[in-house]
């Protein structure tokens, strides 16, 4: 089982790198959806006794994160006719290099943390920290509002996998709370993006600073 968990962790790392290195919005959205599916598989491996209730929560959450939210983001992207991230704050090659640094931070942090013994996989904590940092980095380094929404989703995925790594009794409770937040955030941002676009003809957040007093 541990072998399978490690495989999933490595796949998650790869999805993060793809997010950091890709300029196409469609592939980024796709990657986020893939990440969500991978995370949905994770508890099947870490949590051997799967009850019907847990299974249903899991299925619902994966459905929202892998299908509904990407669909919402994709729809707003289509509405505002954005296909790629042009002129990001930090270039794609540099982003990949930063990603390596972030991964190092994640691994180092996971080594230092006082972790409970029944940890499913030590690699998973490192991946979780890495994913959270990747999400934050995406928000900071990209200009388009849609990429920033994706950053929030990635960050949420990171928090979720952190909870999974601990495999505590009911990690879903916390997860559902966060999911609600992200759900609302994506919804609001989708509407906001639409309005910003119709008002200003662009969705570059750095140019929105003209709105400040």
């Amino acid at each position: 089982m541990a072998n399978m968990t490690d495989t999933l962790a490595i796949l998650l790392i790869l999805t993060n790198f793809r997010l950091l290195g890709s300029s196409r919005l469609w592939s980024c959205i796709q990657t986020v959806a893939i990440q969500a599916v991978l995370l949905g598989l994770l508890p099947l491996l870490t949590n051997p006794e799967l009850t019907l209730r847990v299974g249903m929560i899991l299925a619902g959450m994966t459905f929202i994160k892998a299908v509904v939210l990407p669909w919402l983001v994709r729809r707003s992207a289509r509405e505002v006719q954005v296909k790629r991230e042009i002129e990001p704050m930090v270039g794609f090659t540099v982003s990949l290099l930063v990603g390596v640094g972030l991964l190092a931070v994640g691994v180092a942090a996971s080594r230092r943390m006082a972790l409970p013994s029944q940890l499913s996989s030590p690699l998973l904590v490192a991946v979780a920290v890495f994913t959270i940092l990747t999400g934050l980095f995406l928000i900071v380094a990209r200009k388009k509002a849609i990429t920033q929404v994706l950053g929030y989703l990635v960050m949420e995925n990171g928090i979720y996998s952190f909870g999974m790594a601990y495999a505590v009794q009911e990690p879903f409770l916390v997860e559902m709370g966060i999911l609600l937040d992200v759900w609302a955030a994506v919804f609001v941002m989708g509407i906001a993006i639409h309005h910003i676009h119709s008002a200003y003809d662009h969705i570059d957040t750095d140019r929105l600073s003209a709105l400040k007093e």
Binding site: V129, L136, V140, K212
Partner: protein
């Protein structure tokens, strides 16, 4: 206990029913319940003082660290009585004051906050739990803020409200820290307060800063001269009369937690009191706005109270019970007295303002003939606040004076204490007399200086009767000095290290009887002189002529003394502190066309202390403006960096 709880319920109901759900027919309800609730509270306090019975009441309250623990002892009762009594009278007055208020919804809202303010004050002085105290304290600040903001469309009112709000919150910040120190040993219950060794001085300093802001001790007084003139008059009456006294209550209550006081506590209170008293009355002298003048007099009277408390503490420190008893009882009696005459004076000022449309002293004049009831009540209040016999102000100042004289006689370390008290009280008394000669003389005597003042008429009965009652009380308490001690003794015994209860004021009973006798004689003599004058004048022709006519052929009202010219010699003597600003346009040439004089006195502490400090804070804050790029990226970057730093800091 039953009365007290009933009054709390009545006030809560009054607050709830003032929300303008009901149409005009029920608008008296908020006012009426405020009168009933406050009156009940006053009775509750009085019955506890007379019967000597305290009580404790713990109600369930599911707040961490908090408990709905109310209690009544001598100290609480002595503050509950004036709170309830003055607030009931002020509510009657307010009913009259708002009678012609066109904005009926706003008046209803005002009654909501009025009820809430009485409720929170009663809770604050009755609370026996730190959290409950802080909650009611904050409720008190907020509801009084909304009361001050009644005429919110006026720009000066907005500024005054802001000053008040900032001052109150800074004060509460000190109190929060103080309660943290106090509860270091255990919970937030007053009974379990056991401050760690060595923190007592810190706690005392925090209490003086925090409670002193509410009380209006210099230099924390800056909100008073702003907020009092801005508020409706019955609100300024209760704020100045009773609300600022909760600050005094706070300092006294904290003293009971701290055990044996240190000498510097008493000294600092003594000095702050002397400075507040003298500077307060000096600034009052230089004011042109009647309500602003009264606000500075509150600073002065709080200074007198602080002098008494300082004497009390030093009496305890140096083991002289008589001085401690005299100091504390003088301070406490002055709390009650100031509540009576200061609310009377504010009501008088409000009555004048309603009738003449202005509080500017230099636009008034000759009002005694037009408003005889208001004028006589104001005169009584003025004489009482100056500490003249046979009125109540004299008795409390007499008690503090006797503490001072006793200190001088006993010598040793107490000698300077007595010197400070006697010299500063004497100076304060003299200046206060000068100031109220000015206020009463310019406003009520002479000739009207403006058309509005000439057209003034007496206020309605709801406004006049509370003033008459308060004026009568000034006389009664002045004459009833020997009996008042029974009300003071339970409160003073709470403050002494070995509470011995009744008979504390025994040594001065003879002197108090003397005061009563002289007071009664004075009143009889005055009446006799009036009777004699009437007898002498009967049957003769009495010619009525202009006041200060001085033989001019065609005197006009503008030839009279103005407030500025009346106060000018004294203000000039103290210009070092007051720094009055003058704009003079001197008459020019042989046939001058025009000349003018304009004087203005800013608050020294506001201009020299707070304005520079707050400008500095603003400048320091603007140094950080570059952090505010206005771009989401940067804010998220700050969050991410903070998270990373925290992660590394905890892990390495």
């Amino acid at each position: 206990m039953f009365l007290y709880v009933a009054s709390l319920l009545a006030l809560a109901a009054g607050a709830a029913l003032s929300i303008p759900l009901f149409s005009g027919r029920w608008r008296w309800l908020g006012c009426a319940l405020a009168v009933v609730g406050s009156g009940l509270a006053s009775l509750a306090g009085l019955s506890s003082l007379v019967g000597g019975a305290g009580w404790d009441l713990v109600l369930p309250w599911s707040v961490p660290m908090g408990s709905l623990h109310l209690g009544m002892d001598g100290l609480t009762a002595l503050f509950v009585v004036p709170i309830g009594f003055i607030r009931a009278l002020a509510a009657v007055y307010g009913g009259g004051y708002f009678r012609k208020e066109p904005n009926f919804r706003r008046a209803s809202g005002s009654w909501f906050f009025y009820n809430l303010l009485v409720l929170s004050m009663l809770l604050a002085v009755g609370a026996r739990n730190g959290l409950l105290f802080l909650v009611s304290w904050e409720m008190m600040s907020l509801s009084s803020f909304f009361l001050v903001m009644f005429h919110r469309e006026r720009e000066d009112v907005g500024r005054a409200g802001l000053t008040y709000m900032v001052a109150m919150h800074l004060g509460t910040a000190f109190l929060l820290v103080m309660f943290l120190f106090l509860s270091a040993g255990g919970g937030m219950e007053f009974d379990s307060f056991a401050p760690a060794a060595g923190t007592a001085s810190v706690i005392f300093a925090l209490a003086v800063l925090g409670f002193g802001t509410k009380a209006g001790l210099i230099p924390m007084h800056v909100w008073l001269p702003e907020a009092h003139p801005a508020a409706p008059s019955h609100v300024s009456a209760v704020m100045s009369g009773v609300m600022i006294k909760t600050g005094i209550y706070g300092i006294l209550r904290v003293l009971t937690f701290l055990g044996t006081p240190l000498p510097w506590w008493g000294w600092s209170l003594l000095l702050v009191g002397a400075v507040s008293g003298v500077l307060g009355v000096l600034f009052a002298l230089a004011q042109h706005d009647l309500k602003r003048l009264l606000a500075y007099h509150s600073v002065e009277n709080i200074g007198i109270i602080a002098l008494g408390m300082g004497a009390g503490i030093l009496g305890v420190v140096y083991g002289s019970t008589p001085i401690a008893v005299l100091g504390f009882s003088g301070a406490l009696f002055h709390v009650v007295n100031h509540a009576i005459f200061k609310s009377l004076l504010f009501m008088g000022a409000g009555s004048v303002g309603r009738a003449a449309g202005t509080h500017q002293i230099d636009r008034l004049g000759g009002l005694l003939q037009r408003m005889p009831a208001t004028g006589s009540a104001f005169l009584t209040g003025s004489a009482a606040i100056c500490g003249l016999p046979p009125l109540n102000g004299f008795v409390s100042e007499f008690l503090i004076f006797s503490a001072g004289f006793l200190a001088v006689v006993s010598g040793g370390p107490l000698l300077p204490v007595g010197t400070v008290i006697i010299s500063s009280l004497a100076l304060i008394g003299g200046l206060a007399a000068a100031c109220f000669t000015k206020a009463f003389g310019i406003v009520f005597l002479g000739f009207p200086r403006s058309g509005d003042a000439a057209a003034a008429t007496e206020s309605n009965r709801a406004m006049v009767w509370p003033m008459v009652v308060l004026a009568a009380l000034c006389v009664t308490l002045g004459l009833a000095a020997p009996w008042v001690r029974f009300l003071l003794e339970p409160a003073v015994s709470v403050l002494l290290p070995d509470p011995s209860g009744a008979g504390l004021l025994g040594p001065v009973v003879a002197a108090l009887w003397g005061i009563s006798a002289v007071g009664a004689a004075l009143i009889i003599l005055t009446l006799a002189l009036f009777w004699l004058r009437d007898r002498v004048l009967a049957g003769r022709i009495v010619r009525v002529s202009e006041t200060w006519g001085c033989g001019y052929l065609a005197p006009t009202a503008r030839m009279q003394y103005t407030a500025s010219s009346f106060a000018q010699p004294t203000v000039n003597m103290f210009r070092m502190f007051l720094r009055p600003k003058q704009t003079v346009k001197e008459p020019d040439g042989l046939l001058p066309e025009s000349a003018s004089l304009h004087t203005h006195t800013d608050d020294l502490f506001r201009e020299r202390l707070y304005v520079p400090v707050f400008t500095g804070v603003k400048r320091a804050a603007s140094l950080l403006r570059w952090l505010h790029q206005g771009q989401t990226h940067f804010y998220v970057l700050y969050i991410a960096l903070t998270a990373l730093v925290l992660l590394t800091w905890r892990l390495w």
